[in-house]
């Protein structure tokens, strides 16, 4: 199993723990990641389609040269690359135009996958369960998918847009409790953080409230933008609403890594802003 790894800008910076845990977990599961040489930003939520499609297409062309499918752990990158891919694959005239723009020769032969899809569907839950060294008893997790990993479903494709199951299944495979959660596919507000902070924080607070109401001690995420809202902005939500939250938000790779017996440092768990130390103690990891 070999993929062109597209970390995206955040995993090279503020989401470095997602990069670390992705690499560590993939090594453990026998997924070979070759970082896409000279990749560029996909355009994220900021660039308009007119710009983000050619930007994304340049990355697709680079992967095609390597003869590899792309794996993206960031849901925003996954969405942007998949959208560009769909558009150039389905319309030859458009593909020509984009190739002209990027001065490239992309033929549409690359697949774009989210890391969660590969771990759950290619590696498979059976192999993961067998690899679990330390079942995470004591972790009561809620599965938070967010938006772009499941929507729009004609682009995201790999799971149900209303009630997805892949992350639920993965959490169960680690031995942790996966709690019922009505905010699975709600929006974290990340796209509004800079423009309308009060709205963004209210949206993130609803996701956290839902997790706490269900008695969760950990929220599991699949995207660095969601993680920003639920982890980095958590202290901001606490001070704005005068409440204490103290709910760790872990990347699914960090949770899986713990179950596979990987170390706290290796998984970047010391880099989360909301320290998950109480959670780790509850599963006897120091």
């Amino acid at each position: 199993m070999k993929f062109a790894y597209y970390p995206g800008c955040y995993l090279h910076g503020s989401a470095v723990e997602y990069d670390m845990s992705t690499r560590a977990v993939c090594r453990k599961l026998g997924i070979e990641l070759i970082e896409l040489d000279d990749w560029n930003c996909c355009g994220a939520v900021e660039a308009r389609d007119s710009l983000s499609i050619p930007l994304s297409a340049r990355n697709l062309a680079l992967a095609e040269k390597e003869g590899l499918d792309i794996v993206a752990p960031c849901s925003v990158c996954f969405h942007k690359l998949s959208k560009a891919n769909k558009m150039v694959k389905e319309d030859e005239k458009f593909r020509k135009k984009i190739n002209e723009t990027i001065d490239g020769q992309y033929q549409g032969r690359v697949g774009v996958r989210h890391l969660l899809d590969i771990i759950v569907n290619d590696v498979g839950l059976e192999r993961i369960s067998k690899g679990v060294k330390a079942p995470l008893e004591g972790v009561n997790a809620v599965p938070y998918y967010g938006c772009l990993i499941v929507r729009p479903s004609e682009i995201a494709k790999f799971d149900d847009p209303e009630d997805p199951q892949s992350l639920d299944d993965l959490i169960k495979a680690t031995g942790a409790e996966c709690l019922p959660y009505s905010h699975k596919v709600s929006c974290c507000g990340g796209g509004l953080l800079a423009n309308k902070e009060d709205f963004a924080l209210e949206m993130a607070k609803k996701i956290i409230d839902g997790a706490k109401e269900g008695g969760s001690n950990c929220i599991v995420v699949t995207c660095p933008l969601c993680h920003t809202m639920l982890d980095f902005q958590q202290s901001n939500i606490e001070s704005r609403y005068g409440i204490t939250i103290d709910l760790p938000a872990l990347y699914f790779t960090q949770l899986l890594g713990l179950a596979l017996g990987l170390g706290v440092k290796e998984l970047g768990l010391d880099k989360n802003m909301v320290a998950p130390m109480k959670l780790l103690e509850s599963i006897c990891i120091e």
Binding site: Y10, A47, G190
Partner: protein, 193 residues
């Protein structure tokens, strides 16, 4: 009090402009309101009503739509898009509308109060310069634009913690293929005009 909409004051070409700017399916909307009931922003602020924006746009109320602050509040979560029974592609229609607003703003026809286009501009400029996002520079600009110098000062402790945890690069990563990136920006901008 509700005022009458005078069709003589509307612009019947607005729908075509939206179609051209990426909102091809706007006329598929039959006003069922599923978008509005799906919208997480609407849950917070009733003024944000995708259904109403659709209707106003179809009626050609260009000035009212484009000069409204509301159009910039879409969080791009695609909930309305997913639920729409008509395949209107509401997220794309709203995007098309903000594209037009931005263009009209640049031409001086309307005044945009929302920070969103300026924030996106800062992001794009960094990609133009390096090919990848230089996060720290983006964060600083973002906070300065939205909260001013005092905001920047109060974010400093968080920035320090991130730096200590190794989550902030102090230098940009410039890619090798900058010639290609420059070409992409040049062509995209020429097409906008």
């Amino acid at each position: 009090m509700t005022e009458a909409i005078r069709l003589t004051d509307t612009d019947p070409r607005f729908v075509d402009e939206i179609k051209e700017a990426g909102g091809e399916n706007i006329l598929m909307c039959y006003q069922c309101g599923t978008c509005t009931s799906s919208c997480p922003v609407r849950e917070i602020d009733e003024r944000y009503d995708p259904l109403k924006i659709m209707r106003m746009a179809v009626l050609g109320m260009k000035k009212e739509v484009l000069s409204s602050d509301i159009i910039w509040l879409c969080s791009r979560c695609y909930a309305c898009h997913e639920h729409c029974p008509q395949g209107v592609g509401i997220t794309e229609v709203l995007h098309a509308i903000t594209n037009i607003a931005e263009r009209e703003g640049k031409e001086g026809n309307i005044k945009i109060k929302s920070l969103k286009p300026r924030l996106d501009g800062v992001f794009n400029d960094l990609i133009r310069k390096y090919g990848r996002l230089f996060e720290i520079k983006f964060f600083v600009h973002l906070v300065l634009l939205s909260k001013g110098a005092t905001g920047l000062l109060s974010s400093a402790p968080d920035g320090f913690v991130m730096f200590r945890k190794g989550k902030l690069r102090l230098l940009p990563q410039k890619i090798k293929g900058m010639k290609q990136i420059g070409r992409i920006f040049k062509i995209v901008e020429a097409n906008k005009k």
